[in-house]
Amino acid sequence: MIVQALIDQGVDTVFGYPGGAVLPIYDEVFQQNAIRHILVRHEQGAVHAAEGYARSTGKPGVVIVTSGPGATNAVTGLTDALMDSIPIIVLTGQVPTFMIGSDAFQEADTVGITRPCTKHNWLVKETDALSGVLHEAFHVATQGRPGPVLVDIPKDVQFATGTYMPPKPSVSHYQPKVKGDMEEITELVAAMEKAKKPVFYTGGGVINSGPAASQLLRELVKATGFPITSTLMGLGSYPASGQNWLGMLGMHGLYQANMAMHDCDLLINIGARFDDRITGRIDAFSPKSTKAHIDIDPSSINKVIKTDIPIVGDVGHVLEDILKVWKSRGRKTNSEAVAKWWQQIEEWKAIDCLKFTQTGKVIKPQHALVRLEELTRKHDRYICTEVGQHQMWAAQYLGFEDPNRWMTSGGLGTMGYGFPASIGVQMAHPDALVINVAGEASWLMNMQEMGTAVQYRLPVKQFILNNERLGMVRQWQELLHGERYSQSWSEALPDFVKLAEAFGAKGIICSDPDDLDDAIMEMITHDGPVIFDCLVEKHENCFPMIPSGKAHNEMLLGEAQTQGVIDSKGSVLV
């Protein structure tokens, strides 16, 4: 019944790990061919792989794990998916209903544990209710602001026979509002017509809304000529090669993007949530602007930043209406003022905040990414990352032309996300070039998934920028904690080439800038999983940077400015 429900929901791939409490489901999985099951090596990997699958396809990712430890291991992935609004359906086994509460073997209060880290969850106690709950789970996970859901199924419910109900066009009371309010939309259009210094600030909501939303965004940007910046989560919704692109904003965002946010008079937030990595100091955030906020989740509005023009609705629907209204009112903008605004932006751009010099015989991590970009950008390419400096450099130096091409753990910042995510992406796009830009410390957190990559012959490329440090931790210790590098040194690292070979994969090591291009080409052309150990400068810091507790216009651009910049108040922030 469970497998039938998955098939009826259009599922073709599930990620999972069997165990005592899900044996009946796995028995069903064994007896069919419609759904492919990917055996991971750790349940956390299953959820991240499903996230990678979901982000790169726009379809929900599905996970099956057992009770107790299977469920608790999935918690990090669930929280990650909740923070980044990724639709995931996790099916967990549970001890039989008559044993619940008896501290049975591998029993855990799964719905209790996962209540705060799922959008919704269910414990199904009757087999007849099972198919309805499963269909509802898909509905809740994908409608409105997407998110992870969990269905806990006791083993006796799995064994029993019940009536299967096919999915019905929604009977659910959960029907989030997708159309924006026309009065508010008109107010926004009026503000756009008058704005002298407008900026679009876009986020993951554009990508979650589907490819059509990205198309509409591009149309709107082109038609108005306004500059656009994006959060980490929204990269790719507007092309990096686009004329109006300012680059990413935020703590490690680009100078021109953050300065534009600070000085603008109209800030149009499309599907982003004023995260603290974006706003910096709240009371100094974009002080002169009228703020519009488009979000499908009413709780995002006014949560952090007071909004002047709130629009609750799906980004795609709202953008369509904005374009309609704007066109019907005569396609007006204050083009003279906007041209002047662009002159200012060009001055900021001229500072070239990502500038670095590759000299000597040590590879700069930025250089490694510039070369990676150059050699892979023409490929059908998907990029995942782990979390840390390499993640920020990847966001800065790689260009994303399309949505759903960039998978990174933004909200939760989960080290160990990228590798399993790359497996999920490669499952969904078998012929694409899938690269996980990693740091050696993050990568080791879920390295057991090498077994999965080799087993399913998934040619995922693990591009490890190895500085033998927890680079971002080291950077903060340098800037904030008097250069006392407490526990941020990765001692006793494995030989990554031998590690790859031990799993039956290919390992490449590169330490010389002159060899880099050839080594990257070798990685790309190898038909199979590769661990690329790129030994980089060990003490490189990630700039530009807005220090904690500072405003957008107080950005640091490079090494020279970093002495004593974060005051004691800022140092308590994370």
């Binding site: 209790g112 209540r115 009371h173 009413p298 609750v312």
Partner: protein, 186 residues
């Protein structure tokens, strides 16, 4: 829904109500939350309050519509207007929450609470307690030679006032239900 005396369309589905004028003054609000009556729904609501650091001054919950499978949770909470707006929006996000009403801002409403007070004492104090109970229209629901249990219903301040009067007269135990509230009129 009309049977439950709740007006349609309050916080979660209209953009208009999302424009509060912020101030830093803490306000007390009474929220009526209509939820699906299913296991765990109260835990979701309470978990939201504890997880996000909101206050609960009082909370009552009971099934109000058996056929519709609905329960009504009445929460009295306090916070700045921005926090109150967030609480309502966050409650509205919970999948099993059907509706959130802020009775404090949605026109006039009636708030009632039931309480039981055990007052122990003899002689004049005992007589005085009985006399005051009469003034407050509290009923005696249990009596021994040394104690009374009074049952009283009313707005929370009336119950507070009664408690203040009973304290010097030998108040030994209190049980309060928390606030139940409905909006007035249609």
């Amino acid at each position: 829904m009309s049977a439950l005396k709740i007006k349609k369309g309050a916080t979660s589905h209209s953009a208009y109500n999302l424009r509060p004028t912020f101030s830093d003054v803490e306000e007390r609000h009474t929220l009526a939350v209509l939820v699906e009556n299913e296991p765990g729904v109260l835990a979701r609501v309470i978990g939201l309050f504890s997880g996000r650091g909101y206050n609960i001054d009082s909370l009552t919950v009971a099934e109000v519509d058996h056929t519709g499978h609905l329960s009504r949770i009445t929460i009295v909470t306090s916070g700045t207007p921005q926090v109150i707006e967030q609480i309502k929006a966050q409650l509205g996000r919970i999948v099993t929450v059907h509706d959130v009403h802020d009775l404090t801002v949605e026109g006039a409403s009636v708030e009632r609470e039931l309480a039981m007070f055990k007052v122990s004492g003899t002689g004049d104090k005992r007589v005085e307690a009985l006399r005051l109970a009469d003034i407050f229209r509290a009923r005696v629901v249990d009596s021994t030679l040394e104690s009374f249990i009074f049952e009283i219903t009313g707005a929370p301040d009336k119950i507070d006032a009664f408690a203040d009067l009973m304290r010097p007269l030998g108040l030994s135990d209190v049980a309060r239900t928390g606030v139940a509230a409905l909006s007035r009129g249609e």
